[in-house]
Protein backbone atom coordinates (compact mmCIF):
# COMPACT_ATOMS: atom_id res chain seq x y z
CA UNK A 1 0.00 0.00 0.00
CA UNK A 2 1.30 3.43 -0.93
CA UNK A 3 0.98 6.01 1.85
CA UNK A 4 1.36 9.74 1.77
CA UNK A 5 0.84 11.98 4.79
CA UNK A 6 1.15 15.72 5.09
CA UNK A 7 0.58 17.77 8.24
CA UNK A 8 0.77 21.35 7.11
CA UNK A 9 0.05 24.98 7.89
CA UNK A 10 -0.87 25.64 4.26
CA UNK A 11 -4.44 25.57 2.91
CA UNK A 12 -5.48 22.21 1.46
CA UNK A 13 -5.67 22.43 -2.33
CA UNK A 14 -8.37 19.84 -3.08
CA UNK A 15 -8.30 20.52 -6.78
CA UNK A 16 -4.57 19.87 -7.12
CA UNK A 17 -4.79 16.83 -4.87
CA UNK A 18 -7.70 15.30 -6.77
CA UNK A 19 -5.98 15.92 -10.07
CA UNK A 20 -2.72 14.29 -8.94
CA UNK A 21 -4.48 10.97 -8.40
CA UNK A 22 -2.47 7.88 -9.26
CA UNK A 23 -4.59 4.81 -9.85
CA UNK A 24 -3.64 1.54 -11.50
CA UNK A 25 -5.97 -0.06 -14.04
CA UNK A 26 -7.12 -2.72 -11.57
CA UNK A 27 -8.61 -0.17 -9.17
CA UNK A 28 -12.31 0.66 -9.34
CA UNK A 29 -12.87 3.16 -6.53
CA UNK A 30 -11.46 6.53 -5.56
CA UNK A 31 -13.01 7.84 -2.36
CA UNK A 32 -12.41 11.38 -1.06
CA UNK A 33 -13.25 12.77 2.34
CA UNK A 34 -13.02 16.47 3.14
CA UNK A 35 -13.58 17.47 6.75
CA UNK A 36 -14.59 21.11 6.80
CA UNK A 37 -14.72 23.56 9.74
CA UNK A 38 -18.33 24.28 10.75
CA UNK A 39 -19.54 27.60 12.09
CA UNK A 40 -21.24 26.00 15.10
CA UNK A 41 -19.16 24.19 17.69
CA UNK A 42 -21.66 23.01 20.27
CA UNK A 43 -23.91 25.99 20.98
CA UNK A 44 -21.34 28.64 20.10
CA UNK A 45 -20.75 30.33 16.76
CA UNK A 46 -17.12 30.28 15.77
CA UNK A 47 -15.04 31.89 13.04
CA UNK A 48 -12.23 29.35 12.88
CA UNK A 49 -10.56 26.43 14.61
CA UNK A 50 -6.93 26.46 15.60
CA UNK A 51 -5.33 23.03 15.22
CA UNK A 52 -2.22 21.96 17.08
CA UNK A 53 -0.28 18.74 16.53
CA UNK A 54 2.43 16.84 18.34
CA UNK A 55 3.76 16.34 14.87
CA UNK A 56 6.33 13.56 15.26
CA UNK A 57 3.94 11.43 17.30
CA UNK A 58 1.07 12.22 14.94
CA UNK A 59 3.11 10.93 12.00
CA UNK A 60 4.06 7.80 13.93
CA UNK A 61 0.45 7.11 14.96
CA UNK A 62 -0.80 7.64 11.39
CA UNK A 63 1.85 5.18 10.23
CA UNK A 64 0.54 2.57 12.68
CA UNK A 65 -3.00 3.12 11.40
CA UNK A 66 -1.75 2.69 7.81
CA UNK A 67 -0.16 -0.64 8.79
CA UNK A 68 -3.44 -1.79 10.36
CA UNK A 69 -5.36 -0.82 7.20
CA UNK A 70 -2.85 -2.64 5.02
CA UNK A 71 -3.44 -5.81 7.01
CA UNK A 72 -7.23 -5.55 6.80
CA UNK A 73 -8.02 -4.46 3.22
CA UNK A 74 -6.41 -4.59 -0.26
CA UNK A 75 -6.05 -0.83 -0.55
CA UNK A 76 -3.74 0.44 -3.30
CA UNK A 77 -3.01 3.82 -1.76
CA UNK A 78 -3.98 6.31 0.92
CA UNK A 79 -3.18 10.00 0.89
CA UNK A 80 -4.02 12.21 3.83
CA UNK A 81 -3.52 15.90 4.55
CA UNK A 82 -4.26 17.41 7.95
CA UNK A 83 -4.02 21.13 8.27
CA UNK A 84 -2.75 22.74 11.48
CA UNK A 85 -2.83 26.36 12.59
CA UNK A 86 -5.86 28.54 12.03
CA UNK A 87 -8.51 27.04 9.71
CA UNK A 88 -11.49 29.26 8.93
CA UNK A 89 -15.13 28.15 8.76
CA UNK A 90 -15.86 26.46 5.40
CA UNK A 91 -12.23 25.52 4.81
CA UNK A 92 -11.11 21.88 4.93
CA UNK A 93 -8.95 20.81 7.88
CA UNK A 94 -8.68 17.19 6.73
CA UNK A 95 -8.51 15.57 3.30
CA UNK A 96 -8.32 11.84 2.67
CA UNK A 97 -8.07 9.82 -0.53
CA UNK A 98 -8.47 6.03 -0.62
CA UNK A 99 -7.85 4.07 -3.83
CA UNK A 100 -9.20 0.52 -3.76
CA UNK A 101 -10.40 -2.24 -6.08
CA UNK A 102 -14.01 -1.98 -4.87
CA UNK A 103 -16.14 0.45 -2.94
CA UNK A 104 -16.66 -1.81 0.10
CA UNK A 105 -13.05 -1.75 1.22
CA UNK A 106 -12.66 1.93 0.28
CA UNK A 107 -15.53 2.97 2.56
CA UNK A 108 -14.41 0.64 5.36
CA UNK A 109 -10.77 1.78 5.24
CA UNK A 110 -11.67 5.47 5.04
CA UNK A 111 -14.00 5.26 8.05
CA UNK A 112 -11.47 3.21 9.99
CA UNK A 113 -8.73 5.73 9.22
CA UNK A 114 -10.76 8.69 10.46
CA UNK A 115 -12.12 6.86 13.52
CA UNK A 116 -8.64 5.72 14.51
CA UNK A 117 -7.21 9.16 13.86
CA UNK A 118 -9.74 10.69 16.21
CA UNK A 119 -8.80 8.14 18.85
CA UNK A 120 -5.01 8.05 18.51
CA UNK A 121 -3.42 10.88 16.55
CA UNK A 122 -2.29 13.74 18.82
CA UNK A 123 -3.99 16.70 17.18
CA UNK A 124 -6.13 19.14 19.15
CA UNK A 125 -8.44 21.93 18.25
CA UNK A 126 -9.51 25.18 19.85
CA UNK A 127 -12.46 27.17 18.55
CA UNK A 128 -11.70 30.82 17.74
CA UNK A 129 -14.40 33.46 17.64
Amino acid sequence: MKKWLLITNEPIDERALTMSRMMSADMGTALYFAGVVRQSEGAARIAAIEYEAFQEMAEHQFEKIFVAIEQKWPIESIRIVHRIGLVKVNEPSLWVEVIAPHRGEAFAACKFLIDEMKRLVPIWKRPRE
Binding site: E52, F54, S93, M117, R119, P122, W124, K125, R126
Partner: protein, 87 residues
Protein backbone atom coordinates in the same frame (compact mmCIF):
# COMPACT_ATOMS: atom_id res chain seq x y z
CA UNK B 1 13.20 -2.48 44.38
CA UNK B 2 14.75 0.97 44.37
CA UNK B 3 18.43 1.61 45.10
CA UNK B 4 17.89 5.20 45.97
CA UNK B 5 19.13 6.36 42.56
CA UNK B 6 17.17 9.10 40.84
CA UNK B 7 16.23 9.38 37.16
CA UNK B 8 15.55 12.51 35.17
CA UNK B 9 12.61 12.59 32.78
CA UNK B 10 11.32 15.44 30.66
CA UNK B 11 7.63 16.28 30.41
CA UNK B 12 5.87 17.99 27.52
CA UNK B 13 2.38 19.47 27.82
CA UNK B 14 0.09 19.88 24.81
CA UNK B 15 -3.08 21.84 24.08
CA UNK B 16 -4.74 23.32 27.16
CA UNK B 17 -2.56 21.23 29.46
CA UNK B 18 0.12 23.78 28.62
CA UNK B 19 -2.12 26.55 29.96
CA UNK B 20 -2.96 24.56 33.07
CA UNK B 21 0.69 23.83 33.78
CA UNK B 22 1.76 27.34 32.80
CA UNK B 23 4.60 25.95 30.68
CA UNK B 24 5.19 23.81 27.59
CA UNK B 25 7.71 21.48 29.18
CA UNK B 26 9.53 20.74 32.38
CA UNK B 27 11.72 18.09 34.00
CA UNK B 28 11.28 15.91 37.04
CA UNK B 29 13.48 13.65 39.11
CA UNK B 30 11.87 10.35 40.02
CA UNK B 31 13.08 7.42 42.10
CA UNK B 32 14.40 4.38 40.25
CA UNK B 33 11.52 2.03 39.52
CA UNK B 34 8.95 4.83 39.52
CA UNK B 35 5.94 4.48 37.26
CA UNK B 36 3.99 7.08 35.37
CA UNK B 37 1.50 6.94 38.26
CA UNK B 38 4.26 8.06 40.65
CA UNK B 39 5.35 10.81 38.28
CA UNK B 40 1.79 12.12 37.99
CA UNK B 41 1.59 12.36 41.78
CA UNK B 42 4.65 14.60 41.78
CA UNK B 43 3.40 16.67 38.85
CA UNK B 44 -0.02 17.26 40.40
CA UNK B 45 1.73 18.56 43.52
CA UNK B 46 3.68 21.02 41.36
CA UNK B 47 0.82 21.85 38.95
CA UNK B 48 -2.41 21.54 40.95
CA UNK B 49 -4.60 22.51 37.98
CA UNK B 50 -3.70 19.18 36.32
CA UNK B 51 -5.39 17.22 39.09
CA UNK B 52 -8.91 17.53 37.66
CA UNK B 53 -7.61 16.33 34.28
CA UNK B 54 -6.24 13.02 35.47
CA UNK B 55 -9.12 10.84 34.30
CA UNK B 56 -9.09 12.04 30.72
CA UNK B 57 -5.33 12.57 30.46
CA UNK B 58 -3.45 10.73 27.70
CA UNK B 59 0.16 9.79 28.28
CA UNK B 60 2.89 9.01 25.79
CA UNK B 61 6.51 8.01 26.25
CA UNK B 62 8.36 9.07 23.14
CA UNK B 63 5.84 8.46 20.33
CA UNK B 64 3.85 5.63 21.97
CA UNK B 65 0.91 5.69 24.33
CA UNK B 66 1.56 4.13 27.73
CA UNK B 67 -0.54 3.31 30.76
CA UNK B 68 0.07 4.58 34.26
CA UNK B 69 1.83 1.30 35.12
CA UNK B 70 4.70 2.01 32.72
CA UNK B 71 8.07 2.01 34.54
CA UNK B 72 9.99 5.13 33.73
CA UNK B 73 13.53 5.01 32.39
CA UNK B 74 16.28 7.57 32.64
CA UNK B 75 15.82 10.25 29.97
CA UNK B 76 12.22 9.29 29.08
CA UNK B 77 10.29 11.94 27.19
CA UNK B 78 6.84 12.03 28.71
CA UNK B 79 4.00 13.78 26.92
CA UNK B 80 0.76 14.65 28.68
CA UNK B 81 -2.29 15.87 26.83
CA UNK B 82 -6.09 15.93 26.73
CA UNK B 83 -8.15 13.64 24.46
CA UNK B 84 -7.19 14.09 20.84
CA UNK B 85 -9.58 15.75 18.37
CA UNK B 86 -8.15 15.64 14.89
CA UNK B 87 -10.24 16.02 11.78
Amino acid sequence: MTTGEVMRVTINFYSYFRDLAGCADTAESVAEGATIRDLLRQLVARFPKLEAMQNSMLIAIGLEYQTRDYKLKEGDQVSLFPPVQGG
